[in-house]
């Protein structure tokens, strides 16, 4: 990677090179497409590669630069989109059979913002159907594999987006995170992955799973790349009624602030379950920040461990309601039947996969007469307890560190037949979806089998920049370690 003609993989460097005319967007794209040709067969990160559209867009970017125009902060950066984000005229499947060949009549706000910033959309990535899963095995189009070891899962549900960055098919990608669907695959694939504050990024055009939990965020090679991408896609959108009325997040200017004086919380009653290799990395992360001048403080979050239960009542309840719209009338596929009710039944029975049906039924049950208060109602109260715990913890600490995933990437098929075991993958990520606070996974060395480990940084709502500050310090520490071991 030291040849001067080498094309950088980082979005910040690509964009700079393209804007200054040192690199051409076409050349950058070709390099990425060549890697797709080479490895996509074994990895299956994409549901759709948009090579022709991307070439056209890259040529446009290059001609803008030739004309002395600035294509924007993501000039010529190849980006991949999770296939639950609407792209006008381009199939958007949610990795489900039920959407058939549906082509959305509009672009998601994030897609518009990426394009307006000069990004080149290279493809739509695979996911667990409707973003329900933690391994990207529940896809109607087959599983995605982990680029570090193709016998293992990439995590999920945004496994295709994580794998696309890890395999260097795209420089950055977007995923969605309802209970950890960005952070867990980022950890398993060794990329940075961010779930911003709820409401910081528009959800318009993101096909809804759990509306009070869903948030779009980036995967990237570096903390700075993730910050750049998030700055581009964040900011108020009047077309999303849950979008916070604030300007785009300001993150990059905070990355060099260091950790001196930062109060870093250790949750003393964190649920057990992290494997020893992951725990060792987390301990090292605390030491790294302490060595950089942070103060480590103990905090308690007694309700954290109930997050999984609250989530698996609330998210399926919201999903059962959101997915009622897939009824064979307006989008995609339909199974013909003599009357409308039978058509609904036949279309949904044929179109949804097993995990989606499981969650729709669980959610329908949790909302049904006689059970709503016992399940959904109580879960909403537990959600409040968790948010209160975080608020108390953040009175003492600026950020919290936890594992992003309890283990490194597991084998394909390992948890496929045990839904509860799969759900436990999200133990550490779910609580911040419930509270609406930001969280991100930062690659932090390797664990068992030499596979990537991610450390999760959590921060209070709208303190995304503080979270990035801590993440940047962890990244600097790891770079120093790696440079040290090479010499």
């Amino acid at each position: 990677m030291s040849e001067p003609n080498d094309i950088p993989k980082q979005a910040t460097l690509i964009s700079e090179g393209v804007r200054y005319g040192i690199l051409s967007a076409a050349q950058v794209l070709d390099e990425h497409l060549a890697r797709v040709d080479e490895r996509e067969g074994e990895i299956h990160a994409f549901n759709l590669v948009l090579a022709d559209e991307a070439r056209e867009r890259a040529a446009e970017i290059d001609s803008m630069v030739a004309d002395g125009l600035n294509p924007g902060p993501l000039a010529g950066v190849p980006v991949a989109l999770k296939d639950n984000m609407c792209t006008r005229g381009i199939p958007t499947t949610c990795s489900s059979k039920i959407l058939g060949d549906w082509k959305p009549p509009y672009d998601a706000t994030v897609v518009t913002r990426l394009r307006d910033a000069g990004a080149v959309v290279i493809g739509k990535t695979n996911l667990d159907e409707f973003a329900m899963g933690s391994s990207t095995e529940n896809s109607a189009f087959g599983p995605t594999k982990n680029p570090h070891d193709t016998s293992r899962v990439p995590g999920g549900s945004s496994g295709g987006s994580a794998a696309a960055v890890a395999a260097e098919f795209a420089s950055v990608s977007l995923g969605s995170d309802t209970g950890g669907s960005i952070r867990q695959p980022a950890a398993l694939c060794g990329t940075v992955g961010v779930k911003p504050t709820y409401g910081a990024v528009s959800r318009l055009g993101l096909i809804a799973f759990g509306s009070s939990l869903d948030q779009i965020g980036p995967f990237a090679h570096t903390v700075d790349d993730a910050a750049l991408t998030l700055e581009v896609i964040s900011g108020h959108d009047p077309a999303d009624s849950t979008s916070i009325e604030r300007p785009p997040l300001e993150l990059r200017s905070k990355l060099l602030m260091g950790a001196a004086g930062l109060r870093v919380g250790r949750i003393t009653d964190l649920p057990s379950g992290a494997s020893p290799d992951v725990q060792a990395r987390l301990d090292e992360a605390f030491e790294a920040l302490a060595a950089a001048g942070a103060e480590i403080v103990d905090v308690e979050c007694p309700a954290f461990g109930y997050g999984l239960t609250a989530y698996y009542l609330i998210a399926p309840a919201e999903a059962s309601s959101n997915l009622a719209r897939f009824d064979g009338v307006r989008f995609g596929s339909r199974v013909t039947a003599p009357d409308t009710n039978q058509m609904y039944m036949a279309t949904r029975t044929d179109g949804f996969g097993a995990e989606v049906k499981r969650r729709i039924m669980l959610g329908t049950y949790a909302l049904s007469a006689g059970y709503q208060e016992a399940y959904y109602g109580r879960a909403q109260k537990v959600r409040r307890l968790i948010a209160n715990d975080f608020a108390a913890a953040y009175a003492k600490a600026d950020v919290l560190l936890t594992p992003a995933s309890p283990t490194v990437a597991f084998e394909v098929g390992d948890k496929a037949s045990d839904p509860l075991a799969m759900y436990l993958c999200d133990t550490y990520t779910i609580p911040s979806n419930l509270s609406g606070d930001p969280g991100m996974s930062v690659p932090f060395g390797t664990g068992d089998g030499g596979l990537p480990v991610g450390v999760q940084v959590l921060a209070p709502a709208l303190e995304d920049h503080t979270m990035f500050r801590a993440a940047a310090e962890l990244e600097r520490y790891m770079q120093t370690q790696q440079e040290g071991s090479i010499q």
């Binding site: 082509k103 009338v329 949804f352 039924m361």
Partner: protein
Amino acid sequence: MSDRITPSDVSKVASLARLTLTDDELATATTELSAMLDHFAEIDALDLDGVEPMNNPTHLVNVMRDDVVGETLDRDEVLAAAPLAEDDRFRVPPILGLDD
């Protein structure tokens, strides 16, 4: 394994969700949902009296826009993406039972 949920409960839930289950699927779903509800019973012991339910993380309530004409989706494009359309409308099979 508890009997928190019976096959007939699951069958009713499936029907409410407009899903049809085979006998095998019904048996599997009953076992799986029972196991989940067993796990979820951990919150039964929590004292939640007086705790305000939280339904979303923002403090936004009833966000309204000005009542002015804005850009809308292109009708032809929307209808083209539907399984069946006719006369500028979505076409569906009979809504009332065929015997009515």
